[in-house]
Amino acid sequence: MSNVSTRFWNPLFARLWFVFNRNRISWIGVVLLLILVSLAVLAPVISPYNPVEQHVMDQFRGPSAKYWLGTDEYGRDLFTRIVWGARISLTVGTVSVILGMIIGSILGMYAGYKGGVRDEFIMRVMDVFMSIPTLLMGLFVVAVLGPSTMNLIIAIALTVVPRFARIARAPTVSIKERDYIEACRAMGFSDLRIMLVHVLPNILGDIMVMGSLWVATAVRIEASLSFIGLGVPPPTPTWGGMVREGFEKMLDSPGASIYPGIFILLTVFAFNLIGDGLRDVIDPRLRES
Amino acid sequence: MNQEHLLEVRNLTTAFRIQGNLFPAVRGIDLHLDRNETLALVGESGCGKSITALSIMRLIPQPPGEIVSGEVFMKGIDLLTLPEERMRKIRGNKMAMIFQEPMTSLNPVLTVGFQIMEALIYHQDVTNVKAKELAIEIMNQVKIPSASRRFKDYPHQFSGGQRQRVMIAMALACRPEIILADEPTTALDVTIQAQILYLLAELKREYSMAMIFITHNLGIVASIADRVAVMYGGEIVEVAPVGDLFEKPRHPYTEMLLRAVPRVDLNIEKLSYIPGQVPSIDRMPPGCHYAPRCDLRMELCDRQDADLVPLPGEPAHRVRCWIRGDSREIQDKP
């Protein structure tokens, strides 16, 4: 197994590193993301207040030394809530994509490896899933299941699954035809083992790149659903929910909706920057050179 | 200096930028072309034949390509110094080019007929109706069956050989004086190749055009060319009238090239091949480009490149070789 891993990991990361480095600007995305992640991780340490703590005397305050970004309609500290909100956005964004990535890749590999009717059926269903707009899908699923963190993750994962099924299937089909797979089969290796040892390493690079692109979308959907009121229920701070509350009282204090929005934008932008730098890795035109 | 040449290329050098450095793809090209003449440009792939033709047409993609030096005179006018707009009026009008890949060189979303008449519209003062008439006439001349009906067809509806006929019709639409044919038959089946070659030769005679014919196939050269220029590693290594070249090749590379051609008339048991390959443009040897593969090479060959000089008593036959051609005193060289 160690043999397999060195054979595969080194070239993959070398390629990722090479392509990524050509797009210097993507490093800004990495730096941004690191900052956002440390904010989220260190939330209990750096936030000056409790995120749900209300200061009745200090509603709609502007930025000050006491409240760095001001307060909302209940006098809650915006900076504190933003930092705690980062936890929700980043967790829901990454967990949902990883979940969708695992399910989608298994489905895609299975469909590509088995071929025939099973392949046809799975991929048709994936195509149909893919044609339903991501936000609507999330909205509908959360509406049916009821709003909660878990349901939010399920809803977003569901929209992500078909994309990964597709990207996992195509290389599986071509790898399956190769002689050494034929030989493995002749030697009596199980299908599961062939898929894990021979197919998976070949598609992992593409899947990971695709994953980083979809986290951007997942974070945006999470924010949108929270904005609509289908996110993690209050009083837990979410960026989308904060924008919503701020927007309803926009005339009193525009900052309450502007500041959390900036953080949504920055997070999605960071993931898009990274994804854009990595995109070249899965672009077959560039791969030839 | 000969004013009467139709086309004269002097000291043409075209370079490509690779990771910041300029590397010459063709260097010091000297050649000329007279009226009604066919000059064959021969060499292995990557030797700079197409780059030479594209430089003459000023079609080198820029960047990364760049014409570094030289002159290209057509009837006394240097094409390389013309403003782009005047050069445009020469392209496809006075001088046209036929490309290698008829599959990808035609625009898939425009009708074949339109692509042929397009050159007429922009170069000649004709109405659309007249241009269409002329286009159909040319389609007939290149022997596309039922031309007027196929005028409205798209390239994907044509076979490979017929697409090359369309390419020829496009190039000849304005009756150019010079035609540059870049391996026009390479992508085609052997039987179709012969038909296309025959057609080109016939039309060339009929329109009294001059042609530069680029190929790596010496068999074709023997049947079509008046003179031959052999290229290696971005340089012309030997130029001669076609008969002289086949009978008494002087450059070691030409010799090897001729020996590598399968021949039925000579009962040779073993076909020779040239060991190694053309060096890429960023790894060109400092001296004679052929030296690393040459049987005759001397110490000087590795150090310095020879000039393309005429053989004594044969002004039309020129060779770039220290041993066979350049008779400069070897001792004088550093």
Partner: protein
């Protein structure tokens, strides 16, 4: 040609059926009882039974499915749980607003995105290209509700150029347009980012093609080469890509309608959500499914007409 259109039309019916089936399955098969979600945890058993009966949830799954599908094909999407009016009527009332918004958004996206994409492809790796790339990445990253809020703050509250609430009287063209501009720009600006990127990459592919060199060798003027030879070919994949963005567009139009408080399908769906109007929600999903299938059909047909290699038969 009529055969081609008819053929594609018939082919899109199974797709619609498949989407409807998935909508149906999500609504019924996923664990969780819609009745208890609608009424909340404190509802009495009797009330739950009552609602289940009203929703047809006490019937067998097959029966429900057949009723659902036949209903859709008859144009009957059921009645709203809250107001009791037909879902179809409510949809038709607000549909013009959503159509206005979406078409305007796509138009803005194409009108600005295509030329910008061409320019960045022609001057690739230039400063302009770099700036356009960063800006379009920012565009892609904007949640539509946030950009809408920023537009309102700047253009409605600060400058006062446009009304904050954008509905307008459908019969008064000036008012209709005035209320449309800001939301349409919100949808359009994000679209510009997508279209620019798609156009750039498609143009770059085409510029590398052999036939571009052929056209230049024919001595055709540069502008003619660009538009007739390059753009005609580049547009074919662009059409497909724009068709694919219908998903993004639909999502963004919902958010835009909420922020601008503009009547439309998006407003309707949020209203249904807040009031737990289950039939309305399901009906709207059906309407969106139909919209998506129609968009795919239009994309397919446009593609067919712009690429001669697609056979009409």
């Amino acid at each position: 040609m009529i055969k081609f259109v008819l053929n594609r039309f018939l082919l899109s019916i199974p797709t619609l059926l498949a989407i409807l089936t998935i909508v149906f399955l999500i609504a019924r098969v996923i664990p969780g009882d819609p009745a208890s979600v609608i009424l909340g945890d404190s509802a009495s058993q009797e009330a739950l039974e009552n609602l289940r009966h009203r929703l047809g949830l006490d019937q067998s799954l097959i029966q429900q499915y057949i009723q659902f599908i036949t209903g859709v094909f008859r144009g009957n999407l059921g009645d709203s749980l809250v107001s009791g009016t037909s879902v179809m009527r409510e949809v038709l009332n607000v549909l013009p607003y959503t159509i206005d918004l979406t078409i305007a958004g796509v138009l803005i996206g194409i009108v600005f995105g295509v030329p910008l994409g061409i320019l960045t492809a022609l001057y690739r790796n230039s400063f302009l290209d770099f700036i356009a790339r960063i800006l379009s990445l920012i565009g892609l990253s904007f949640p539509a509700f946030y950009s809408a809020i920023l537009l309102i703050i700047v253009f409605s509250l600060q400058l006062g150029w446009f009304p904050v609430i954008s509905s307008g009287n459908l019969l008064d063209p000036v008012q209709r347009l005035h209320h449309l501009i800001l939301p349409a720009c919100n949808l359009g600006l994000i679209m510009v980012a997508y279209v620019t990127r798609a156009t750039r990459s498609s143009m770059l592919d085409v510029l590398r093609e052999d036939y571009m060199r052929t056209a230049k060798a024919k001595g055709i003027p540069g502008m003619v080469i660009l538009f007739r030879h390059a753009l005609r070919n580049a547009l074919i994949p662009i059409i497909t890509v724009i068709g694919l963005y219908i998903g993004v567009l639909v999502g963004n139009s919902v958010l835009t309608e909420i922020v601008f408080n503009r009547p439309g399908l998006g407003k309707l769906i949020i209203g249904a959500l807040n009031q737990r109007d289950y039939t309305m929600l399901q009906g709207l999903m059906v309407v969106y499914s139909i919209i998506i299938v129609i968009t795919n059909l239009i994309t397919d047909l446009t593609y067919g007409f712009s690429d001669p290699r697609v056979k009409y038969s």
